[in-house]
């Protein structure tokens, strides 16, 4: 069993500004661990992107526990500047070389793609380049008015069905994934995971599966994994 990244450098006061890893984060870590052989031997990532990296625990785990490859470049984004600092600290504290990590403060992947009103395919820098894409989105069902903060609320406030932020992101996934790329997503029942899987197939030809499920308190969590039809993961 792979060890969880050490977060001893983060304090209670950090967790007032940055989402503290919880069951949802740990379920994604478990899914990545279960896919270790697939990720290392088949995907062999050159570029991994995590959107909304928060404390950085997920990218740190992928980089320093699952892949342990000095050939891989990691890019993380977060809208919350405190989360960017936490992600950097967590990655370096757990032994990831700083030259392998780039962090950008932004909303989803704004600034890594063209303007939102331009053609959806306008992402020359990242077009089909992403081998592992990770998103633990703000999935909690909240009033729409709570969506759009740049503070810690941005880590959970998902608006209607907890889908408002996620639904802005999903159209980017087919543009980003490389031929053998894989996208991991955290979801809860109110997000209607079966509907997400169907939508990704019908609209973008991405094949999705629920790879892990767990009940944590009142949340029914699942990890969804998507690949291109031509590269459906063989276990």
């Amino acid at each position: 069993m792979l060890s969880t990244p050490d977060l001893g450098h983060l304090t209670t006061s950090d967790y007032r500004r940055v989402y503290e890893p919880a069951e949802d984060s740990f379920l994604l870590l478990d899914a990545l661990e279960a896919d270790q052989v697939y990720l290392r031997d088949q995907v062999r990532p050159r570029l991994c992107i995590e959107v909304g990296s928060g404390s950085g625990v997920i990218t740190a785990f992928l980089a320093t526990r699952v892949l342990q490859s000095h050939k891989t470049q990691y890019l993380t984004t977060d809208i919350n500047p405190h989360a960017i600092l936490a992600t950097r600290q967590t990655c370096s504290h757990n032994g990831l070389d700083s030259s392998q990590l780039t962090c950008v403060q932004t909303d989803l992947l704004d600034g890594l793609l063209g303007p939102r009103d331009s053609a959806p395919a306008n992402c020359p820098q990242l077009d089909g380049q992403v081998d592992v894409l990770l998103f633990n989105p703000p999935y909690v069902v909240t009033p729409s008015s709570e969506v759009g903060s740049q503070g810690i609320e941005a880590a959970w406030a998902g608006g209607i069905d907890g889908r408002e932020v996620l639904d802005r992101f999903l159209p980017l996934v087919p543009l980003l994934l490389s031929a053998h790329g894989v996208f991991y997503l955290v979801a809860i029942e109110p997000n209607r995971p079966a509907d997400i899987i169907q939508h990704m197939d019908q609209c973008y030809g991405l094949i999705g599966h629920t790879v892990l499920k767990r009940k944590a308190g009142c949340e029914h969590l699942s990890i969804l994994r998507f690949t291109r039809r031509s590269a459906v993961a063989t276990e």
Partner: protein, 118 residues
């Protein structure tokens, strides 16, 4: 790698790469990792990197990637220095199209826009 995403700024020849201005640079020595560099070479927009490095007055990178970069020791050393060791701690990135300025603070580029700019 970052590009302007202001609404209506749709000329990709101008919105990328952003022009770095008033930058403070620091060089952090790290061990050279040729495997990572070789991977990045396949992902990177060479013209943009070359232009940016020149504008910053950094070690001059050739206009095109050498035919066999992995075995060109001098080239790999330069690339390592520019790509891996040079950090921009403070500064700004300006769009050559619409002129929008994105700040870099404590080494973190901030690409957020106001609601009306999206």
């Amino acid at each position: 790698m970052l590009q302007c995403h202001v609404k209506g700024c749709n000329d990709p020849s101008l919105s990328f790469p952003l022009q770095l201005k008033d930058v403070e640079l620091e060089q952090v020595e790290t061990e050279q990792n040729d495997d990572l560099l070789a991977n990045l070479l396949q992902k990177i927009d060479w013209n943009a990197l070359q232009m940016t490095a020149t504008e910053l007055g950094l070690a001059s990178l050739p206009e095109t990637i050498p035919d066999d970069p992995d075995s060109d020791e001098a080239f790999m050393i330069k690339l390592h220095e520019v790509l891996m060791e040079m950090n921009i701690t403070q500064g700004k990135m300006e769009c050559r199209g619409c002129g929008h300025v994105y700040p870099i603070k404590d080494g973190i580029p901030n690409m957020l826009l106001a609601e009306h700019e999206i």
